[in-house]
């Protein structure tokens, strides 16, 4: 290509070109690393069935070398297809999807040589690990799109987890835990809103401080209340999964998406509502206006601070509900600092996803999947030290951010307090 041709690529086209190059390189890498170099080979077995799906393909076994080779070739073909689509200036979505699956399978055939990988379970687990991240990121979307930085996601999740765990334990009813969790998150968000909006405190300090506050208080109560009076205060029940009729029977997809607890179903609804609402509703329009250019919003009669206040609280409620996942959605009782930094990963997912709901969801899913994949691989055994396996999701995120995402832009007024009548 001549220089002028290169120059006349648009930004999406440049990104596409970068992806095509990446695909080609990774495809060849798969061929070399998973087929040419490994000398031993054995049967790699993949499991699909979780429950009583319609089509019961229980297991699929393949010679690991054959599998790695086949899928590596498929990946390379997908890269070639992507190249031609790129040349024809078409999108390369399908090709990259095929590539992604093939590359992963080529890798898994190699990694599972002589082993068993429950593929459906792997994906389901990835989704589950992403659930609190998605809730946290959605809280981030609402808060930050309306102009308030939300570093306190961690604290909101933890408050939700605590409240739902304790209330569900006291009443032995999961639905009460579910009901109370959003209020706990909203309470933290209320503090965030009052201090950030009314008193114009630095939102970053505020976020960190609120996190410390929630950690300190829940640790304290855990020690003074939940441990000594464990049977009443901290023996909460767990939500049972609900199978969505018909849908849950779809092979592979059914168990992953439609045999889940109400928290996961609520998550689907929230993501869709926020995605549609943010870009297509009056609520979303005003929220984004407050976060992008508050003076302009005010100049058409919108009460910016009220808009922010409400959305910050709503965001907290969503994060609080996500917090319920840790207790009633997963293990039942509350555990000290059980959110374990997920709020910060959610924050990263939010930025990674360019402050868009679907982007953040993708980022959270990538992280959740990578996390579960390293877990499964460490069980079936790898040559890599466990500490490096534990790094995998974090490293994967960095690679994804640098390789495929690039520069992102936050809402223009995110983090800037708005005081009407003081600035024009």
């Amino acid at each position: 290509m001549t220089q002028v041709e290169v120059l006349s690529l648009s930004a999406p086209e440049r990104r596409r070109r970068r992806m095509v190059v990446m695909m080609g390189v990774l495809g060849v890498f798969a061929l070399v690393a998973f087929f040419i170099i490994p000398k031993q080979h054995d049967k790699a077995t993949f499991g699909f069935v979780m429950d009583k799906e319609w089509v019961a393909v229980h297991e699929w076994a393949i010679n690991s070398r054959h599998g790695s080779l086949g899928f590596a070739i498929l990946a390379i073909l997908a890269a070639i297809l992507a190249y031609f689509q790129f040349r024809a200036r078409k999108t390369i979505r399908i090709a990259s999807a095929i590539f992604g699956v093939s590359f992963l399978m080529s890798f898994l055939c190699w990694a599972a040589s002589g082993k068993f990988i429950p593929l459906t379970g792997l994906l389901q687990g990835g989704l589950l690990l992403a659930v609190p991240l998605i809730y946290g990121a959605m809280a981030g979307v609402l808060c930050e799109r309306s102009g308030v930085i939300n570093i306190a996601i961690e604290g909101q999740l933890l408050a939700g987890a605590f409240a739902s765990g304790v209330l569900a334990s006291l009443t032995q009813k999961t639905w009460i835990g579910l009901l109370i969790a959003p209020f706990a998150g909203a309470l933290i968000a209320y503090l965030l809103a009052v201090f950030a909006i009314k008193f114009a405190i630095d939102q970053v300090i505020l976020g960190f401080v609120l996190n410390v506050l929630v950690i300190g208080l829940t640790d304290f109560l855990y020690k003074r209340l939940l441990i000594p009076y464990q049977t009443t205060w901290n023996s909460g029940p767990i939500l049972s999964p609900i199978k969505i009729p018909v849908l849950w029977k779809i092979p592979i997809l059914g168990p992953i998406f439609f045999d889940q607890t109400i928290i996961v179903y609520l998550m689907y609804a929230i993501v869709i509502l926020i995605h549609v609402g943010l870009f297509r509703s009056k609520w979303g329009l005003r929220m984004r206006a407050a976060g992008e250019h508050p003076t302009a919003a005010e100049s058409v009669g919108i009460n910016v601070n009220r808009t922010r206040f409400r959305n910050v609280i709503l965001a907290g409620a969503i994060a609080g509900l996500g917090g319920a996942y840790f207790t009633i959605g997963a293990v039942g009782p509350f555990g000290k600092e059980m959110t374990a930094g997920k709020g910060f990963i959610a924050l990263a997912a939010l930025i990674f996803g360019r402050w868009s709901p679907l982007g953040a969801v993708s980022a959270a899913l990538i992280f959740g999947f990578a996390d579960n994949l390293q877990g499964v691989l460490s069980i079936i055994g790898t040559a890599i030290p466990s500490e490096f396996m534990l790094m995998a999701p974090y490293v994967a995120t960095i690679i994804a951010v640098t390789g495929f995402v690039g520069r992102v832009r936050a809402p223009a007024a995110d983090g800037v307090p708005y005081k009407r009548g003081e600035s024009v």
Binding site: L128, T231, A330, V331, G335, K336, M338, D371, S386, L390
Partner: protein, 327 residues
């Protein structure tokens, strides 16, 4: 004669008194000794940098005996023991020897006012591995840890070796997932607070077919036991203390517990001090002195075949006598 007042003080590590593991056990042990003449207290740490200041505070408070809980506190305890020969010290999970200023003198010199409390938990974990292998219907059992550190992996290693011993004795092929005795590495949560991750690891084990899971991750064991309860696919072996007592909500799925007698040994040290019988001779908790042991099967006893129960009991005797080597 009126007993002189004894003040027994614990310096906990960052896990805190509610870690559902050795810190909690140590405090439990200490509290059990409290009488009119024995008072107990603890100081928790927020970071590794707090150990030395905390111990100095306890020294300044004129504690009769100061017990450091956790291997991380070792150097702070050793320094304090050297500087305060009049005060008695003990350290959990370390030998408590002075290894010189650069820490590279082995074997180190014993200090006359410092007692090391160590535990051969691999002995009881070995029994647990044998039990699990015999109990498993699927031929797969599993273990995982919080972090890849010796007080954790000693359990995992013993467990996996117990499974291997079962295979050797019985000519079976029971697989122990989550720990590789050769590479000395395995499956870890990456910390001691991520319950959701621990739960997912447990599910992954079940999907691999494991029906006995042995979590070595303090409070995270609850996640595994909870999964055993909801999934009905596995049973759990509790760690550190008898789960039947400490986590009764899970008693229906607890096969047994691998007990590390931190509580009894800490209590023992305090009682010795109270009786004026403190000795700096190191303590090693073994099956023989009940410093570590496999707890009762409790509610699941009827599910464990009598023969297996007998074999496990005999295995314990053989380990004590040295007939069976656990490491």
């Amino acid at each position: 004669p009126a007993a002189t007042a004894v003040k027994a003080c614990l310096a906990l590590d960052t896990g805190g008194v509610d870690d559902k593991s050795f810190n909690a056990a140590a405090w439990r042990g200490a509290q059990s000794t409290a009488t009119a003449s024995v008072t107990v207290k603890y100081l928790a740490a927020q970071s590794d940098a707090d150990y030395a200041p905390n111990i100095k505070k306890l020294v300044d408070e004129k504690c009769s005996v100061i017990i450091g809980v956790g291997f991380l506190i070792n150097s702070a305890i050793v320094d304090a023991a050297k500087a305060n020969p009049g005060t008695k010290f003990a350290i959990v999970d370390q030998d408590g020897f002075d290894h010189g200023p650069n820490g590279d003198q082995y074997p180190g010199t014993a200090l006359t006012n410092l007692k090391g409390l160590q535990f051969a938990t691999n002995q009881s974990a070995f029994q647990a591995g044998y039990l699990a292998a015999g109990f498993s219907k699927t031929g797969k059992v599993a273990t995982y840890g919080g972090l890849n550190i010796p007080p954790v992996t000693i359990f995992m290693d013993g467990f996996a070796k117990g499974v291997a011993y079962y295979n050797k004795v019985k000519g079976k092929k029971v697989v122990a997932l989550g720990w590789d005795t050769v590479k000395k590495d395995g499956t870890f949560v990456g910390g001691f607070s991520d319950q959701a991750k621990a739960l997912q690891i447990s599910k992954n084990f079940e999907q691999q077919g494991a029906d006995v899971i042995f979590p070595v991750a303090g409070g995270l064991g609850g996640a595994t036991a909870g999964q055993s309860m909801t999934g009905h696919k596995s049973v759990t072996i509790w760690v550190d203390s008898d789960g039947y007592v400490q986590a009764p909500q899970y008693k229906s799925v607890l096969l047994t517990s691998v007990v590390k007698g931190v509580d009894t040994s800490v209590a023992g040290v305090i009682k010795d001090v109270a009786k004026g019988m403190f000795s700096s001779t190191g303590y090693l908790g073994t099956l023989a002195n009940k410093g570590t042991y496999l707890a009762s099967y409790h509610d699941l006893a009827k599910k464990v075949a009598a023969r297996l129960q007998n074999e496990v009991r005999q295995l314990g005797i053989d380990i004590k006598s040295g007939k069976v080597k656990v490491s």
